[in-house]
């Protein structure tokens, strides 16, 4: 399955009250889909830190789901965050890794764990009780809504194909202004 098709499943399955964090290639593709006030396009980002941002959001907003759409390269840069998440036990947080084996936005250079790393095993070892793996789009589409609605913290490993030759994401606007709008949307209970 392509990363974009797998991401579109998240777009369709997310609850309207969920906060969805995207980063790097998932941000690029997410911005081609209809946007909602609770979307966080984490561009610009700090390398690998979408999962940490999601942990903070999940702890602050326990009554709504938080979904982090991460890449494998980004996940490898902050593997410890999986242990931090499992330790903090946010039942409303889902981390989804779109694993294409490469740093897609920099020109598809291989990641250190290309074809060898087992993200599901890492997540289980970190302490996630709810761990899922998919490499078939129909299977992922069948289960996605139930997984996002389930009790977490949840980890989903999606093995996807890379989109080659497509530039990385461009910032959709001043980050501080987007932060202010998100705070207002959350405070308003959207």
């Amino acid at each position: 399955m392509s990363g974009r098709d797998a991401l579109a499943v998240v777009h369709d399955a997310r609850n309207a009250r969920d906060v969805v964090v995207t980063t790097m290639a998932t941000s690029r593709d997410w911005m081609t889909m209809p946007q909602q006030p609770l979307d966080i396009v984490f561009v610009p980002s700090a390398m690998g830190h979408a999962t940490s941002l999601g942990l903070g959001l999940a702890l602050a907003q326990p009554a709504r789901g938080v979904v982090v759409c991460n890449g494998d390269g980004s996940m490898l840069m902050n593997l410890g965050s999986l242990v931090s998440i499992a330790g903090a036990r946010p039942t409303n947080l889902t981390v989804i890794v779109f694993d294409n084996g490469v740093y897609e936005v920099t020109g598809a250079q291989p990641t250190p764990g290309m074809n060898t790393v087992d993200f599901a095993a890492i997540a289980r070892g970190a302490g996630f009780a709810s761990v899922h793996s998919y490499d078939d789009l129909d299977d992922w589409r069948r289960d996605a809504s139930g997984i996002l609605a389930g009790e977490g913290p949840t980890f989903v490993w999606l093995r996807v194909t890379a989109a080659l030759g497509i530039p990385g994401p461009k910032s959709p606007g001043p980050a501080a202004e987007r932060a202010r709008r998100l705070v207002e949307a959350l405070a308003a209970g959207e």
């Binding site: 966080i40 610009p44 980002s45 700090a46 390398m47 830190h49 940490s52 941002l53 999601g54 942990l55 903070g56 959001l57 999940a58 702890l59 602050a60 907003q61 902050n78 410890g80 965050s81 242990v83 931090s84 330790g87 903090a88 980050a175 501080a176 932060a179 998100l182 705070v183 959350l186 405070a187």
Partner: protein, 162 residues
């Protein structure tokens, strides 16, 4: 220099909801008192850069977080500080342990003394250095000043032996 009970009381009075932290031998001693007081939740992270982004998420979600790390973790945190404080312009406050400031017996010539304050200045963090117990009240006064101005700030706590 400060007891855990003293720091926990300050955090409580300031309404700090969460402390994202990696301990050192000084600030780590405060964790028990913070947890016993029960008003501020500790979020233990594996590496200091995480702490800034966890605090960012907490802030965006309406909480009142604080980052508590050692200066060595400040050095590790560069990309996250750049992103949180300057890209997203979030007013995250921090308490940073200043290793070896009061005593270099363990690490003579500790380079933390060379780089800590210049790094804070490079990242444009408005900080106050506390070297005496009598300065405890400056944690609250500096936090409130930064909060009123909606800007990031830090307290640098002088530490003894590493």
């Amino acid at each position: 220099m400060f007891t855990g009970e003293e720091v926990a009381e300050v955090l409580d009075q300031l309404g700090i909801t969460h402390v994202a932290t990696v301990p050192d031998s000084t600030i780590g001693q405060w964790q028990g008192a913070i947890e016993r007081r029960g008003r501020t939740r500790l979020v233990r992270v594996c590496r200091e850069g995480e702490a800034w982004e966890v605090a960012a998420g907490l802030h965006l979600g309406g909480a009142h977080p604080l980052v508590m790390i050692q200066c060595t973790g400040l050095f590790e945190s560069g990309d996250a500080i750049r992103n949180v404080l300057h890209d997203w312009k979030l007013p995250i406050f921090s308490i940073i342990g200043y290793r070896s400031y009061l005593n270099q017996d363990t690490l003579p010539g500790d380079t933390c003394l060379v780089f800590t304050e210049p790094v804070l200045e490079t990242w444009k963090v408005d900080y106050r250095l506390l070297t005496r117990h009598e300065q405890l009240g400056e944690i609250a006064s500096h936090y409130m000043a930064c909060r009123s101005a909606n800007r990031a700030g830090a307290i640098l706590v002088a530490e003894g032996k590493a």
